[in-house]
Symmetry: C2
Subunit: 507 residues, 2 copies
């Protein structure tokens, strides 16, 4: 193939992929608007508009001409250095194309339609403690998830296709990792449970929302979130969404009686946003111009939210400012009391409210239950009992109702069973692994935190992780940045050191 041919083919490929990206970003804007701005009566037509753009994007992503183009570029890609962005682009575009074409459009539409119907039932059933109402929907969802997996016949575990190729770990690798983590967390949680319960009343006074947002925004900006390239809005559930590398937005909710909700939601979403904003600009508008995998993405949100945002040096710097914003509420509260409150470890029933240690127990329960369901070893009709039994076994609590039990999370009721939850704990593990590598490379990072300076940390993450985008899968990115595909030790070290000191444990 002549050089000109390859150049022209590659340009054609990039133009096609950029078109798909642009339609995808437009669809994301419809979603962002829907979550925080759209008047309620607009919902019906908005669903149609979103479906329209989704169908268009799917059509473009499965265009046989795109497949032929990728075929013709295969040899060229092999001739490039493995770490060349163009090689990565062709490789990832091939992976996306194969994935998109394996799943028939008919299935996508059917699953999407069922997902909406199931979600609508769940919205009513959850507050009504009516798990039974969701069961027939959940059974179809389970069938759909199995059907999805069958499009990728040859898998090792039925969960593997649901996790997807970007994560880079099989279900059995994850199960082994989680078992090892479980073995470490159990004694730690037990030891903390024997200590007096930490008082976090100081967080549950009245905090005017505008000041809460102003404070969270100030920290977001200090972390490096550029308000010329993003904005912070309100929505019922916090999220980060990307319309372009230079337009990465986050949302949060604010609870007047819970200081930690908006604050840590913002720091979490800012972690996602800094990742997307840090991707090399030349990858913009391509499928590799995004984060590497859900787990790696979550490592960034967890790093900024927990490792930095719940650390003592961080609050040594920021607590006086917080006190000055809320003098009546916090003026008389010692830093130590506040620091303990935001790091209170407690066995509770709700994943999204859990502390950074027990959060993983919630994730692992879900991962195990969905593996069993997909394997056919757990029927939907037995799910409620299985859920309650696992909560009793792992957290020592039995949900008094399904609202804060088996129906608490949207994942199974809105989309599919399998493939989502594991990323949260993979992210926790990677967050400590990457942070340890960053500090080893730049020891000034830690003292900087106590000064409210984060440039070196963001710079290291940017250079070793962010800028690569989706050129490599999660484990390859982690290996390059920290020397290991994934490693439990840094996370365990981090937890033991922090919570050993907080709870006076001999570990």
């Amino acid at each position: 193939m002549a050089l000109n041919d390859e150049t022209a083919l590659l340009a054609d490929l990039k133009a096609r992929l950029m078109e798909i990206e642009d339609f995808g970003s437009s669809a994301s804007l419809l979603g962002w608007d829907e979550a925080g701005f759209m008047p309620s009566a607009g919902a019906r037509v908005r669903a149609r508009q979103k479906a329209r753009l989704a169908a268009l994007t799917h059509q473009k992503a499965t265009d046989p001409a795109l497949g032929r183009l990728l075929d013709r570029l295969a040899a060229f890609a092999d001739s490039l250095a493995e770490d060349s962005p163009d090689a990565a682009l062709i490789r990832v575009a091939r992976r996306d194309f194969d994935l998109a074409t394996r799943v028939p459009a008919e299935y996508v539409a059917r699953a999407s339609e069922h997902g909406s119907a199931s979600y609508n039932v769940w919205v009513g059933a959850r507050p009504a403690n009516d798990f039974a109402a969701t069961m027939p929907y959940l059974e179809t969802t389970l069938e759909l998830s199995r059907e999805f997996a069958e499009f990728f016949a040859g898998y090792e575990h039925v969960m593997d296709p649901l996790i997807g190729p970007d994560e880079g770990f099989t279900a059995s690798e994850i199960a082994a990792l989680f078992a090892a983590l479980q073995a470490e967390l159990r004694p730690l949680v037990n030891a903390i449970a024997e200590k007096p319960v930490v008082c976090d009343r100081c967080l549950h006074q009245t905090f005017p929302p505008a000041q809460q947002l102003a404070f969270a925004t100030k920290i977001a900006v200090d972390f490096g979130y550029d308000l010329k390239r993003g904005r912070i809005d309100l929505s019922p559930h916090p999220f980060c969404t990307v319309f372009a590398r230079d337009d990465v937005r986050i949302t949060t909710r604010v609870k007047e009686n819970d200081l930690s909700d908006a604050l840590f939601s913002v720091l979490h979403e800012v972690g996602h946003a800094l990742y997307e904003m840090g991707i090399a600009s030349e990858l913009e508008g391509t499928p590799i111009g995004h984060g590497a995998s859900p787990g790696v993405h979550e490592s960034q949100s967890r790093l900024w939210e927990n490792i930095i945002g719940r650390s003592l040096p961080f609050w040594e710097h920021y607590y006086p400012l917080l006190q000055s914003l809320f003098p009546d509420q916090l003026g008389h509260i010692e830093l130590d009391t506040f620091y303990r409150a935001i790091n209170k470890v407690e066995r509770t029933l709700i994943r999204t409210d859990a502390d950074e240690i027990t959060y993983n127990l919630h994730v692992m329960i879900r991962f195990d239950l969905e593996c069993k369901m997909l394997e056919g070893k757990l029927a939907v009709r037995d799910l409620q009992d299985a859920w309650n039994a696992r909560y009793e076994a792992d957290l020592g609590l039995t949900p008094p109702n399904d609202t804060i039990g088996v129906t608490q999370d949207v994942h199974w009721y809105g989309g599919g069973i399998g493939g989502s939850f594991q990323a949260y704990t993979i992210g926790n593990i990677l967050s400590a692994q990457l942070y340890e590598a960053a500090v080893a490379a730049k020891p000034g990072i830690e003292p900087d935190i106590a000064k409210g300076e984060f440039d070196d940390l963001r710079g290291w993450l940017g250079g070793h992780l962010h800028r690569h985008g989706r050129q490599f899968t999660g484990p390859v990115i982690a290996q390059q940045a920290s020397g290991a595909r994934i490693s439990l030790e840094p996370y365990i070290r981090y937890l033991k050191q922090k919570y050993g000191a907080l709870y006076g444990l001999a570990l």
Copy 2:
């Protein structure tokens, strides 16, 4: 053709048209977001995303398959009653298709690109009083506008294709109408100019933006603007945009030192919004589910802004509320003083700040100048002089600079020359014509205004105008609703009665 065939063809047509509508609405959301929300750095990629959706929409709108479908439905349309919505749908879709296909995609892209370049030059040149810098761009714009007209060879006047078919009036009809209006307005403006200048200082105190918005929103809701189907946001220039019949949004700006700016902008945009919200729901997602023409649309914004919103009965009802919101600023200002201030007639240089009478003089100057340019009788290099001479002749004022002279409006510098300005004055004329018909049919409308009740007015407009959408052209809609395609008399009667009383004129 068998009935089943026609039913299937019609369903196919509607599906294709709805797809075009949905992509168009998605593009509108990109524009809405850009105007009021998008972080500044997002502009570059946003332009690309908008161009992408515009190209897609143009491609779908000119799809030869759509043309063949319309060909096959032509006989069927002829067999339907002329006032059947399906007949109107096929008729309007045919018109849109013919228009879209006459204009080559290459031209659309070239004109759009030039429009952006010209706009960017104008943004800098306007504040710098640098008309010369815009001249080469304006010359190309003029050529492009002529080129556009040539796609519709056979026109009577080169302006006609630029005005477009929906308006339903030719340039020569409009010129005759404007000449008659000019003859009526000139003595009226002269008579007012001989009276003492009205003092409007009361409007130029400090009015906190939040209260201004709260008051404007209250009136919007009283007019019938449903906040479940719309919302009001801030943007540098007020506008109304439609994402669905049940999602019609408006924006405004707020000037702390000008009470009338946000208030009347909102009432104006609400007029546009009520029109779109009142279109029959079965027309939603079709090309006839929009307002009939720019002039008819403007009649609705002017009716609510001026005929209602600047009337004495209206303020007899609302002024006490306004005073209670701004007691320091307005508590001591009499209703009569306020009413005169918001209806102050004055020859000024800026169209967008003009009162409801002289506004038309500004429009007619522009219409005449662009006719002359398109006819080749006025060169761009002579435009500045021609502009200044016309302002001296028509308004007795010579612009001291181009910022508030020939470069004041975006229209010529951002899009094209010809086809936009006439709608404002057509709207003014129609607003009085339609209002007179409404009051004749429902005499309770006028006393209701003094009670802050607008249901009968909105109901009449809804039934006679709004619900039809774009099934008929402007003059047909006006004829059906008020018995005349367009008639100057009601507007002249309205102006003479109102301003005769205000200025103590014997007319």
